[in-house]
Symmetry: C2
Subunit: 330 residues, 2 copies
Amino acid sequence: MRCCHICKLPGRVMGIRVLRFSLVVILVLLLVAGALTALLPSVKEDKMLMLRREIKSQGKSTMDSFTLIMQTYNRTDLLLKLLNHYQAVPNLHKVIVVWNNIGEKAPDELWNSLGPHPIPVIFKQQTANRMRNRLQVFPELETSAVLMVDDDTLISTPDLVFAFSVWQQFPDQIVGFVPRKHVSTSSGIYSYGGFEMQAPGSGNGDQYSMVLIGASFFNSKYLEFFQRQPAAVHALIDDTQNCDDIAMNFIIAKHIGKTSGIFVKPVNMDNLEKETNSGYSGMWHRAEHALQRSYCINKLVNIYGSMPLKYSNIMISQFGFPYANYKRKI
Amino acid sequence: MRCCHICKLPGRVMGIRVLRFSLVVILVLLLVAGALTALLPSVKEDKMLMLRREIKSQGKSTMDSFTLIMQTYNRTDLLLKLLNHYQAVPNLHKVIVVWNNIGEKAPDELWNSLGPHPIPVIFKQQTANRMRNRLQVFPELETSAVLMVDDDTLISTPDLVFAFSVWQQFPDQIVGFVPRKHVSTSSGIYSYGGFEMQAPGSGNGDQYSMVLIGASFFNSKYLEFFQRQPAAVHALIDDTQNCDDIAMNFIIAKHIGKTSGIFVKPVNMDNLEKETNSGYSGMWHRAEHALQRSYCINKLVNIYGSMPLKYSNIMISQFGFPYANYKRKI
């Protein structure tokens, strides 16, 4: 009969209460452990699969096709000639024509009368003739990749098919056909240029630190990034009607912490500006164009507080195209 | 006094036992949860930073220099000529010569008498003349990168400097100068070959699925991987005295889930086998050599249960070297 003196509560009841409480705690911990296990990454996950799943879950864009964005001003003859070519490129999802001819109606009717067309082409009438119109977040854009091409640039289909496949392997960089660089001088002032300029560093060969967006593939999310930049950046581009591509390279290099672009050597790419009847010959013929671009680099370094561009000397070509572009050595 | 009839054990004792047991279970679960949380990846970790930290913590190897591993048999004149060249390559940490001339003393004395030398060269006397001797985990190897070169292959310094910089950007792949591929036939039997073979796929150009290790940079950890392969793989290489490089491509492709190598187009690379006085002309002159390599592919698919090799058509060259290898188009 000793038990009654010792036990405060009936033994079974106290034991049951402790047991119940412990079971609840154990259950909670098991749920936590289960949640943590679910968060562990599957080792075989590769970048493209992850992107695909994210994209599918968003329900909108895809990595398997791209949207051509072509801004145009005063060269409708070239535009239409180029559209006839680009509309047939494999993996093209849609074309967005940024119509900078203010006050002039876009050629929708003409385009439709010459249908049917392989893919949709949207003409976006602009309210002002601005260089950075092409960097808007277009609601019609459904793909992860943008192909941005100037309205006087003809890039062959094999070049585009190959460069797109390269972009799919490096989706966070600008994959394009026109490399440029910045050079540093002892005064700390930067200059902008191409192969004609001093090669940076002490090694062999040249380097590039920018890939121009006017003949390139890049991730469509960077359009949103551009819109979010400080007003000073937008103002710089509006004032110069230039440098939107330099700004994009700054933004991307800053974001990814490595070189903003990968240069793919074009096999067959031409500038058609001499073929236009409009008499208009493009912004880069303005006397101050090159100096402006050096000016932009220094302004952007000022705005961002640092020089984020990084050099690269990687040049990518397509193995075996054109035929036998690689000779067997050993 | 009712309690004594109800309780089987004194209540406090039973409660304490349940409590003690529950506490043990809870403790175990907390430890498990803690372990799982530690396994969660840090989002901003990038591959090279991770490697650097792992390496620093091991205190041994580095990404900034590489070790040349050169296996040699019956071509000491070529070996010494090549060593005179390779010993002076920038970023070279050490040379390991795998001495397959069984019974013949390695030329340590001759080498030392012609010192001083820029870097250490270790001659590793082997006990049997085996192709896979060069894939051992050499204790003298301190770098993350291996440069593996056949003892008749002369690769220029600019090519090596550039390819090493490419390897540093893709440290999980074989970065080398000799691309090869497998082709699939309707019977499911594979064949091995180079540019002369049918290009896979329906697009333009050619593809490669292997980069031969005899003129390449690769991560030294893959030597450990190789040692851990099934005995059947080692037996295959011993029987054929061939295919160690094909096996390495299988192992790496399987491990990383993408193409095993990146092809860098050599500017100045030669095979010196015609220059040897030994009269020995290398394994690839054996009548059965090419057929053996097709045989090896099919055997390896059998051993691993799948074909892990993946095609690529990316060819990398150095921007601006040789001079003006890129012409400004627009």
